[in-house]
């Protein structure tokens, strides 16, 4: 071995010659999604956040399961700011309503605003972003500038202006809040979608599909979009938490949900007057809000890690 000219040959049975390029068959076939799911279900972050979200969903759909006290009918001013009593574990608000019941019943409004806004933002943002990214050229320029205009509007200021429009002033509901949030936040989603689509649109498999005779739109829908979906899903999950906070912010400022709809934002706003004397009145809806937002953001993080293409074997 040390001699300069020796010709060394390893014993052949030490490295038996395998057939060239054999297919590994020991593992079950895995798609991107089933691979992500396998990674996700072992992550404590994902397990905790999805259990919390599941619980929140159940509370939102069936508030009666946790609270038998009707939230508004029973308000007696005599109970104003009273402490916990039997059947009323969190005490009473300034108006003498049961805090526990209001927090439980507020879940529905907060979650539905969050979910509906995300759905609207995904539909608007992904459509515009995908068209801009896929077609490029002047279409992209026009759509990108349009997005920039909306992006430049300060969120709260924009919301203040929109709620002053007569239609919105007269029809305050969950839907008006959803429209306001979607209108002011879609550009962010459009940017993410545009970037993801641009990354995929020049891939060889798209060219291959076009050469097979797949139409341009067909290639966008069947090949480009499914491959651009991962960052969009991550963004949507993170946005859900952000939108719930946004609804609370708007309601707190009095430009969100009307007083007649129970929401955590409204309750936090209502507790302002007693923040010095009875801070716990504000604490309960605020804690509910924080837990919800945290669960969605944790879920978003976990999903992002699971869909990270770098962690996927090639």
């Amino acid at each position: 071995m040390t001699s300069k000219n020796s010709h060394f040959v390893a014993p052949i049975d030490e490295t038996p010659l395998l057939a060239t390029d054999t297919l590994k068959t020991e593992q079950a076939p895995l798609s991107l999604w089933s691979d992500a799911w396998r990674k996700l279900r072992r992550r404590p972050l994902f397990i905790i956040s999805s259990l919390l979200i599941l619980a929140l969903m159940i509370i939102a759909l069936f508030p009666g399961l946790l609270s038998t006290v009707p939230p508004n009918d029973d308000c007696q001013l005599g109970n104003s700011e009273a402490g916990p009593a039997p059947g009323h574990p969190f005490g009473f608000t300034f108006q003498g309503c049961d805090i526990y019941s209001r927090v439980v019943h507020g879940t529905q409004a907060s979650l539905s605003v969050g979910l509906l806004s995300v759905i609207c933002v995904v539909i608007i943002g992904v459509t515009i972003g995908a068209i801009a990214g896929y077609y490029g050229g002047w279409v992209d320029s026009v759509l990108a500038r349009l997005g920039d205009i909306f992006f430049a509007l300060p969120l709260v200021l924009g919301a203040l202006v929109i709620t002053q429009l007569p239609f919105f002033r007269d029809n305050k509901s969950v839907w008006t809040v959803v429209v306001i949030i979607a209108l002011l936040t879609w550009p962010q989603m459009a940017r993410i979608a545009r970037g993801a689509v641009i990354e995929v649109r020049n891939a060889d498999f798209v060219t291959a599909a076009r050469a097979l005779g797949v139409s341009r739109v067909g290639a966008l829908l069947r090949h480009v979009l499914p491959n651009a979906l991962a960052p969009i899903i991550v963004m949507a999950t993170l946005n859900l938490g952000i939108f719930i906070v946004l609804e609370a912010t708007l309601s707190f400022l009095g430009i969100g949900l009307p007083q007649s709809i129970m929401s955590w934002g409204n309750d936090i706003a209502g507790a302002q007057s007693s923040i010095r004397t009875k801070p716990e009145i504000m604490l309960y809806p605020a804690a509910a809000l924080s837990i919800t937002v945290l669960s969605f953001i944790m879920l978003g993080d976990a999903v992002r890690d699971a869909l990270d293409p770098k962690s996927r074997q090639r």
């Binding site: 040390t2 000219n5 010709h7 010659l17 297919l23 895995l30 498999f205 599909a209 050469a211 491959n227």
Partner: protein, 572 residues
């Protein structure tokens, strides 16, 4: 030879070599283990090699054979999850397998230099070239004034070095970047240079220049070189000794010519047989098939040759935007004409930027020619209506270069191969399943792979899937755009054989776009050589290889590594 570095302790020879010269680097029974999420993986076992001072040793192997890992261990740059778990790496007799990071920093640059693989990503894009050279010089305590930097760059063959030092990497071509990396690697005059596939990303003519220059420089400095490559021809041409690695083990090592002429391990034998740069003949599948063979082998001599594709004065001009409103014309393809005979393979050869892929895209109707005509079966393809174009797509199919990019990662193999059938509404569900099974058989993939996804397949397997997809519509012409360039040598040979088989059985016509003349020799009947958008030479493969008429063609042929090393037995 430079004088011994102060930091290197006196050498005690443990095993005297025959000639009495002490080896510079000796790797003994090296084992390297990686910790992964699925457990420990042994990447290298029982590796051993010896490099004498001033000697060039090449490690040859396919991807995943452990050749780069071995070299990285020698310079102490294994990834964090990898560790040397056995054996020794002796540098001048000192075991550096478990040396401290401090000691390794002393050795790197000064004693062991490195030229990394990819010139595009190994220079930091935000720093000027000069600064990156200066960084190396300073880290090793050498003078690093502007003149020293210029000298280092000049030695690596970069003219006008003072000005070049003030440029950023994006202003350099691939070859110039590799020269800059070589300059950095050799700037501190190390005694051992590790070159990890230093030219695999470059055009062959540039590759030749750079390797020649590297040879001259290391000979002048007396530097020993550890060359890592997948190309046996290149290794044999450049190195004194060749070490063949397979599955993390050294299977054979010895003087390069001896090893090439007399391979003893079955893996080396297989490598020598399939190395394209050493082959010299068209893969002769057709010959054995008798009747058809006559016109396949001598298509040019047929009086009424059936030209399935006729390309006439094809021109493609791109507008290059330079600031607002200004645009200059750039002719990517300029006046190209050639014919493709049915049932044969025509190769378009050229280096990057020669316009060969643009020709392929225009033939596939993915780009519109600026001028000129493409006649398919006598019909001008520019005049095709959408419905006719849809039919045209059934008859002309592509296979692309990158086996990682050409399959949709979201589609399993069945859906991928079925897609063309579905798009063209051929058959029902059951008949499509049957057809996909047949296609998988044709490309020798097991039918059990239908439910798998592209990321579970190797590069060669993906390329087979791409071939099956291209065959699904029973096309007449297949356009292979660098279809085998990204594959390991053995896999490449396998895929080329598959393509040749399919051609013989199905009478396919190939238009084969490639930069690799060695591959052309194996597969093509006709060659068109392109340079900067123009066709410089056309002819039958044998004519072009045996008596090239143009200087450019000659330069390309001369640049095939290892071409002159060994006359193949059939010819000799």
């Amino acid at each position: 030879m430079r004088e011994n570095n102060m930091t290197i302790p006196d050498v005690h020879v443990e095993e005297a070599g025959n000639s009495g010269v002490k080896p510079l680097l000796e790797i003994r029974d090296l084992a390297i283990t990686f910790k992964t999420s699925t457990g420990e993986v042994q990447a290298v076992r029982n590796a051993h090699l010896t490099i004498m001072p001033g000697e060039t040793v090449a490690i040859v192997g396919e991807s995943g054979s452990g050749k780069s890992t071995t070299a990285l261990a020698a310079i102490g740059l294994l990834p964090n999850n990898g560790a040397v778990t056995g054996g020794q790496i002796l540098l001048d007799g000192e075991d550096i397998a478990h040396a401290s990071e401090k000691r390794m920093i002393e050795l790197r640059g000064n004693t062991i230099g490195m030229v990394p693989q990819d010139p595009m990503s190994n220079l930091n894009p935000v720093w000027k070239i000069g600064y990156q050279v200066k960084e190396t010089l300073r880290a090793n305590g050498r003078p690093s004034g502007p003149d020293d930097i210029a000298k280092v760059l000049e030695q690596a063959g970069l003219p006008d070095a003072h000005r070049r030092a003030n440029q950023y990497p994006h202003e350099f071509s691939g070859g110039m970047r590799q020269r800059a990396l070589i300059a950095i690697g050799l700037s501190c005059q190390p005694r051992l240079l590790i070159a990890d596939e230093p030219t695999s990303a470059l055009d062959v003519t540039v590759q030749r220049q750079i390797l020649d220059h590297l040879d001259t420089m290391t000979t002048d400095l007396g530097t020993a070189v550890l060359l890592i490559t997948h190309d046996l021809g290149l290794a044999a041409e450049r190195a004194d000794k060749v070490v063949v690695m397979y599955q993390g083990q050294v299977v054979e090592s010895g003087p390069s010519l001896e090893l090439l002429r007399n391979p003893r391990h079955p893996y080396t034998k297989r490598l020598v047989e399939s190395a394209p740069s050493l082959a010299s003949r068209r893969i002769q599948v057709a010959k054995e098939l008798g009747v058809e063979a006559a016109d396949l082998l001598a298509p040019t001599e047929e009086p009424a040759a059936d030209h399935v594709l006729k390309i006439q004065d094809l021109r493609k001009v791109y507008k290059l935007r330079q600031g607002l409103g200004k645009a200059t014309d750039f002719a990517a393809v300029d006046g190209v004409s050639f014919d493709v005979t049915r049932g044969t393979t025509t190769a378009i050869v050229g280096e990057s930027g020669s316009g060969k892929s643009t020709v392929a895209k225009m033939v596939l109707q993915l780009e519109k020619p600026t001028e000129g005509k493409i006649l398919f079966d006598g019909v001008d393809t520019a005049a095709l209506k959408p419905a006719e174009l849809f039919k045209f797509r059934r008859r002309v199919q592509p296979i692309f270069q990158d086996p990682y990019g050409s399959l949709d990662p979201m589609y399993n193999i069945f859906r991928t191969i079925e897609e063309p059938l579905r798009v063209h509404k051929i058959g029902n569900k059951a008949s499509r399943v049957k057809k996909v099974r047949e296609l998988l058989d044709q490309v020798s993939l097991p039918q059990s792979s239908m439910q798998r996804f592209p990321n579970e397949l190797s590069g060669g397997q993906r390329q087979r899937v791409a071939i099956a997809r291209a065959l699904a519509l029973d096309p007449e012409v297949i356009i292979c755009d660098e279809a085998v360039s990204a594959l390991d040598v053995l896999v490449q040979a396998q895929v080329l054989n598959l393509l040749a088989d399919l051609q013989a059985n199905l009478g396919l016509t190939y238009l084969f776009i490639t930069h690799d003349l060695a591959v052309v020799r194996q597969i093509a009947d006709h060659v068109c050589v392109m340079e900067k958008g123009k066709l410089v030479e056309t002819g039958s493969t044998d004519d072009v290889f045996e008596s090239p008429q143009q200087d450019y063609t000659k330069a390309l042929l001369n640049a095939i590594p290892g071409a002159k090393l060994m006359l193949p037995p059939e010819v000799a």
